[in-house]
């Protein structure tokens, strides 16, 4: 009986800790802290880092005319994006408070290129992901700085998504990334699920991967029906997870398993 009681107490305490700390960890740790030494070495060397190929491709696109476009990105934002402010890039996703509309960096690039006459780019379009990777890379070293003022309702929805179990494997994001960071899932350390390295190059699939694609990949692994590309749910995941990452230095393009 005593054992039963202490179990309940333990679960209750666990519940409180989770409720209190889920969004804003006191000291979030980058996925960099959890990867293997050789993966870190790969990320640290711009010549070896496979994500830099995408950055280079993004730079090329930034300075050239996209199909249908009347202007290059560089026409407004200067050659190589010199006119872009890295502190502003680090604030994404941004939210229009009056309408509670989330705009991710990717959304911003889609809207921007559309204004130049480009047909709306699909969320998984390789050129779009390359542009996004390049622009985020321009803020490498900046601290993630999403302004959380007035975001309570959206973050509550994000947290709900993050703590809901999905698929046949029936786990929520929090089970690994809140309860078990640092333990091993087979040969890999579980991370805290931070977004500061994204878009990141994933060794497991050999591709550059956005935060939203990473969430879809995790849901596939859970044998769940993933949320569709471009869906509001994925935007909420990205907002919530990036707020959790506030304060961490941007590493794009990180190398992750």
């Amino acid at each position: 009986m005593k054992a039963m009681y202490s179990t309940r107490l333990f679960l209750l305490t666990l519940g409180l800790v989770v409720a209190g700390n889920n969004v804003l960890l006191a000291e979030p740790k980058s996925g960099y802290e959890y990867i293997k030494d050789e993966t870190r070495a790969l990320q640290d060397d711009d010549f070896d880092n496979p994500g830099m190929l995408t950055v280079d491709r993004g730079l090329e696109l930034f300075n050239s005319l996209l199909p249908g476009a009347s202007k290059r990105c560089a026409n407004c934002h200067q050659q190589d994006g010199e006119g872009l402010d890295s502190k502003s890039i680090a604030r994404y996703p941004v939210v229009e408070r009056s309408t509670q509309t989330i705009t991710t960096l990717q959304d911003r690039i889609i809207a921007c290129t559309e204004r130049t006459g480009v047909k709306a780019l699909a969320p998984d379009d390789k050129n779009l992901v390359a542009l996004q990777t390049y622009v985020r890379h321009l803020a490498r070293g900046e601290r993630v700085a999403v302004d959380t003022e007035g975001l309570d309702a959206l973050l509550a929805r994000g947290e709900k998504l993050y703590t809901t179990r999905y698929g046949l494997i029936d786990m929520a994001c929090q089970h690994c990334h809140v309860f078990y960071p640092g333990t091993m899932i087979r040969g890999q350390h579980i991370s805290e699920g931070m977004t500061n390295g994204f878009p990141a190059y994933r060794l497991d699939i050999g591709e550059i991967t956005t935060v939203q694609q990473r969430v879809q990949q995790c849901l596939n692994l859970m044998r769940a029906e993933p949320f569709a590309s471009g869906s509001e749910e994925l935007r909420l995941f990205e907002l919530y997870m990036t707020v959790r990452s506030n304060g961490l230095a941007i590493e794009t393009p990180a190398v992750r398993y």
Partner: protein, 157 residues
Amino acid sequence: MHLARTCSLVVALFFSGLAVAGSGEAQVPVEDYCEWQVTDYEIKEPLCSLKGDSKRGRDIVSDSGRGNCIACHTLPLKHISVYGTIGPSLVDIGKRLNEGQLRLRVADTRQINPMSIMPGFYRHPSLINRPDRRYIGRTFLTAQQVEDVVAYLKALK
């Protein structure tokens, strides 16, 4: 505290290799689900009255598309050198838990610890949120596979 630990003491599996093994598995026809009952924190009766085979169970626990217990637990398998550390070691689990206790922990450990990270390998398919369409109506392991795993674990002494 001690019981909390015991609660998560389980045969777990997790991710990994699902795309490959999962697609093959999903072609097997959907089986009828067998109801089970918890008494004294045990499922005393074998699922669907099936008899387990510990040799088959040993294959299932290290198969990344089926049990994949090794993703989280240590087991005494000669051909596997790397194990996960999320759950407790199961090398002598047969000394600590009886057959009915093992069966409950494999089938649905959340009956004991609702917050457990460990998947339920034999929960009613209607309880699954947003299953991929290939897995609708399915349990994680079949009743026979659960019994095979239980037979294997029971013998770890």
